[in-house]
């Protein structure tokens, strides 16, 4: 075992170093972190709309008799107005996820490369607008003939188009810093204030970027670039089909989530920050999936339980727009209970069964941060890191919890689609909020916690035995 562990470490450490030091991945991480508050505010708006201010049969206000659901004409106006406010919040948050990250990622990558990020961020936003289609087909009347109008489908600003946003941000930042590094810029005399000088410095790289993206977009819209019968109305549609859809199919399913959940703990076992190291998986697949669920729920296409409310609209969704079971919300709600490795279960097992006073003390000290899913004290204090006794349960627990949650969803025991929640949400509360105010989801989170306690229990007993043996030997 010890040999196996040290061998694995030799292999993993350089991988972690590469993944963490890689500038593009770091900019992706920081770019998404910057949008987190907005995404959580937007998700809360949708949660409130669906849980509190919902006017369908059996919802909270209807069952309390405050709103008469039988007669829509009698809906109080304040109710409609509150829902409009919530929709407006959604429009400025979740609905524009791709627009937000196209700026923040280009900004961060440029800053990491040692230049001011604002100019690159603005250029990136401009390039992104060129890369979406400005024409859209809409029916003249409901179910009527389709006509082309000049309009942008908001779907292109949302989570479905995040891959395009990431690629454009990378491209813009690379080109921009290339120009600056080689000083291919218009130089201003030194009397000119630096901010003015910088905006002139962005002229040449900016022109180059916009011309390149504009030509590429023209090649798609005029169908000069096409693949047999496949044509694309924009750079965005092309990237969604060629990269977004395969990524979603290969990485976004049960298998992808299993790899993510397992590897997070493999890295942690060697004392390397797992979620940070694998943030690129989370942020290109599992977090956008939760945002996309929120988009579809807000538009009334599906609900949290997985019912399709608008079949026609659902059938029109492309692969990258479909709702997904496998989201960051699933792992945050049902797997990362008290932190990676469901270590709140281990803390409870230690408090119940440990005969080692030092370990009990660490369990007590780790309890409060664990309520907010922070578990560094336990990982390094117990430690779990490099602890051969805990290797097996710590590595296996997340695949097990992912699987039980997936089964429960597929058997219809708990809601199907989760929306964005803060990863620091306490056990149970996260599931409640993420799955549309569902008490069954909350109960299931506690079931998962009990399961993890049970899985850690025998290993705590084993730790006791080793501790006692050691004490006896020392006593001799």
């Amino acid at each position: 075992m010890e040999k196996f562990i040290s061998k694995l470490e030799k292999y993993l450490l350089p991988v972690a170093e590469k993944l963490n030091g890689q500038r593009h991945l770091a900019s992706l991480r920081d770019g998404f972190i910057a949008t987190m508050p907005l995404l959580i505010i937007g998700a809360f708006a949708i949660m409130f709309k669906n849980v509190v201010f919902n006017i369908s049969e059996g919802s909270l206000l209807v069952s309390l008799g405050i709103v008469n659901a039988v007669d829509p004409a009698n809906y109080p106006i304040w109710m409609t107005n509150i829902n409009l406010v919530l929709d407006n919040i959604y429009n400025g948050s979740l609905a524009i996820t791709a627009l937000l990250v196209v700026y923040t990622i280009a900004f961060n990558l440029t800053e990491i490369k040692g230049y001011k990020g604002v100019e690159a961020g603005v250029l990136s936003l401009a390039a992104f607008f060129i890369a979406v289609p400005f024409m859209m087909e809409v029916p003249i009347s409901e179910g009527g003939e389709l006509i082309s109008v000049m309009a942008i489908n908001p779907s292109f600003f949302g989570p479905a188009n995040i891959i395009t946003a990431i690629l454009i941000a990378f491209f813009v930042s690379e080109v921009y810093t290339y120009f600056l590094k080689r000083e291919i810029t218009i130089k201003m005399p030194s009397e000119v204030p630096p901010a003015v000088g910088r905006s002139f410095a962005a002229l040449l790289p900016g022109a180059f970027i916009l011309v390149v993206i504009a030509i590429l977009q023209m090649l798609f819209t005029t169908e000069i670039i096409s693949f047999g019968t496949y044509t694309f109305d924009s750079i965005s549609s092309f990237i969604q089909l060629i990269i977004g859809a395969p990524l979603r199919i290969v990485g976004g399913g049960y298998f992808g989530l299993m790899v993510y959940a397992t590897m997070v703990n493999v890295f942690w076992f060697f004392g390397i920050h797992g979620p940070n190291t694998l943030a690129f998986m989370d942020q290109s697949i599992f977090s956008p999936a939760a945002v996309q669920n929120a988009v579809l729920i807000q538009q009334g296409i599906v609900d949290f339980s997985g019912n399709i409310l608008n079949q026609a609209a659902y059938d029109n969704l492309s692969t990258v727009e479909l709702p997904s079971i496998y989201t960051k919300t699933l792992v945050d709600s049902y797997v990362f209970l008290g932190g990676s490795g469901a270590t709140l279960g281990l803390i409870i097992a230690l408090l119940l069964a440990s005969k080692n006073e030092a370990n009990k003390k660490i369990a007590k000290y780790s309890f409060t941060p664990a309520l907010f899913n922070i578990n560094e004290p336990l990982l390094f204090g117990l430690p779990i890191v490099f602890n051969p006794i805990l290797f097996i349960p710590f590595i296996l627990i997340q695949p097990i919890l992912v699987t039980t949650a997936t089964l429960a969803i597929n058997f219809g025991l708990i809601p199907m689609y989760g929306i964005t929640i803060p990863w620091t949400s306490p056990v149970g509360l996260g599931a409640f909020l993420g799955y549309g105010g569902s008490f069954t989801a909350m109960a299931f989170a506690f079931f998962q916690l009990a399961l993890s306690t049970l899985l850690y229990y025998p290993f705590v007993v084993a730790m006791n035995r080793i501790h006692l043996n050691k004490n006896e030997k020392e006593g001799e």
């Binding site: 390397i272 660490i362 560094e376 117990l382 430690p383 890191v385």
Partner: protein
Amino acid sequence: MQRILLVCSQGMSTSILVQKMQNEAKEQGIEVLIEAHANASLENQKGNWDVCLLGPQIRYAKKQVQAALDDIPTDIINMQAYGMGDGKAVLKQAFELMQ
């Protein structure tokens, strides 16, 4: 005054440790500046610090951090002390490193 920099990946759990170290320093009557910074934002920190301690979860980044800080004495925080938030032990580790 001695200046101690703690570095980790986000500065979250390390900031708890900073607090504990500051309390410990106050108790011992030592005047010292302690801050926690994220690994990715060390560009402008050159010359600001006398000693640097890394959170154990980013020990692979030691060389990179040392390079960003002009080769000041740098070490990994003792794992157990980090986990338990043992301000006294980490403060001691920092001062030993400076000698």
